[in-house]
Each structure stands twice: as C-alpha cells, then as structure tokens.
C-alpha cells in the first residue's frame, strides 16, 4: 500500500506546476491546461485523504469535481473560440491591449 505522504508530495508538485503555468503563461490554451493540472492535483489530494480515512465521501467529492471540471473545460473552450473570433488571437496580453479599441 502506498503511504499518504508520498501521494501528498505528488499532489503538491502538481499544484506548483499548475500555479507556475497559471501565472507565467499568456496563451489561453496553456492557462486552461494549468487549471486542469491544478484540479487533478486537488483530486489526488482528496482521494489520498479519502483512502487514509477509509471513507467514501471523498470519492463522491472527487466524482463531483470531475463532472464540474469537465463542464468548466467546455466553457473555457467556448470563451477561447469567442475571443479568437472577436480579437483574432488567444494571447491574453494582446487581448487586454486590444480591449479598448
């Protein structure tokens, strides 16, 4: 059986990778990917604690999280398509500079 600390360390590393992507990347696709990485890190965390406490509540929470995350991706992609049609780019810095025109 895998120990909980090892799983939490993996979750922490993925969390840092996700935060790095969210802050450093300007491309909307990369921002969406960063959010997915963050959600996966949180799911690993939830399942680790669920296993440690021997409870099914964590699994239910993770299932709900997966459903919400999949829907969130749909909205993110729809916004990306809208911005591409409106501004012709998905670069966040260019979009913010074009907003006033």
């Amino acid at each position: 059986m895998i120990g909980t600390p090892e799983i939490l360390i993996l979750s922490l590393i993925l969390l840092f990778v996700g935060i790095y992507g969210l802050t450093a990347k300007k491309n909307l696709v990369r921002v969406l990917i960063s959010i997915e990485i963050l959600i996966n890190a949180s799911l690993i965390n939830i399942v680790a604690f669920s296993g440690a406490l021997n409870s099914t509540s964590g699994l239910i929470l993770a299932l709900v999280g997966i459903a919400i995350a999949a829907a969130e991706t749909t909205v993110g992609l729809a916004i990306m398509i809208l911005l591409k049609k409106e501004f012709g780019t998905i670069d966040t810095t260019k979009i913010s500079s074009l907003r006033g025109e």
């Binding site: 090892e6 799983i7 960063s34 996966n40 699994l59 239910i60 997966i66 459903a67 992609l77 990306m80």
Partner: protein
C-alpha cells in the same frame, strides 16, 4: 506496487511540465492526456477503481479530444500564435509521443495487475451508489443542475461567437 506508483508519479510530473512547455498546443494537450492517464493509474493503485475508470473516460478521453478539436477548429496550434512562427520543435514532439505511449503501457499494466481486485473491490459499486444517492442525493441533484447551467452557458457563448463572425 510502490515501484508502479513512483513510475506513474514521475511520468505525471514530466507530462505536466511538458504540457506547459511544449511549443505546439496540440502536443501540449497530448502531454496533458498523458498526465491524465498517469493520474488514473495512480487512482487505480490507490484502490479507487471506479474513480480511476471515470478519470480515464472523462478526462483522458473526452476532455483531451474536446480540447484538440477546439484548438484545430480555431487553428491556434502554435504557442507563439499571433507572433512570428518559429516552427515546431521536434524534440518536444518526440518526447510527448514517447510519454503518451509509456503512460498507456504503464496504466495498462496497472489495470491488468489489479484485474482481480477490480472484480472483487473492497468498496463495491453498490456502496458508492448508495452513498451517492443516499446521503448525498441533494449534492447530486445540485451538481446536475449546475452542469446543465454550465453547458447552457457554453452554448450561449458560442452563439455570441457566431454573431461576432456575422458582424
């Protein structure tokens, strides 16, 4: 068991970093899919079999395909989209494809090694279903409405995109 976990964890971290650093957006999403596969394998190793399979179907399957289709639809394949096209970097592409293949093999081996446990799980699906539709039925209904509202919102945004295109 622990070796399998460490292999999957290292693969997941490398895939996550590659998903942010690959030059081509399509390969970035493929690397993300590789990470999802590894996380599904980790769920299965943690004896959360149902969640692992849901992760495989919803994330590694649907979400990745949806993202690839959306990126190809708006032709935003390059990370430096809008700037001078530098050209794709072959080493990122080869690494991504190798990562996806290795992740597939690793998750496949994990599922095969856990096949007997999958059949006789300690937490059977009936328990999970009884918890979901028992104590947490109100959460389930709320999430159902929430997901419906989110999908409706996505359709509204896409119809706005169509109006922008007509203008």
């Amino acid at each position: 068991m622990e070796i399998a976990y460490y292999v999957l964890a290292v693969l997941a971290i490398i895939s996550a970093i590659l998903a942010l650093e690959a030059r081509d957006n399509i390969y970035a999403v493929l690397a993300l899919g590789s990470m999802m596969l590894d996380v599904a394998g980790i769920f299965i190793l943690m004896e959360s079999y149902f969640l692992g399979l849901i992760q495989l179907i919803v994330y590694a399957g649907t979400v990745v395909i949806l993202m690839i289709i959306a990126i190809m639809l708006i032709k935003a394949t390059s990370m430096t989209e809008g700037y001078e096209h530098i050209g794709s970097d072959l080493k990122y592409e080869i690494t991504t494809i190798i990562l996806v293949l290795v992740s597939l093999v690793a998750v496949g081996i994990t599922i095969v090694s856990k096949y007997e446990a999958l059949k006789f799980s300690e937490i059977p699906l009936s328990t999970l279903g009884a918890t979901l539709f028992g104590a947490y039925w109100i959460v389930f209904v709320l999430v159902m409405f929430l997901v419906g509202a989110i999908i409706g919102g996505a359709f509204t945004i896409l119809s706005m995109a169509e109006e922008v295109k007509k203008e």
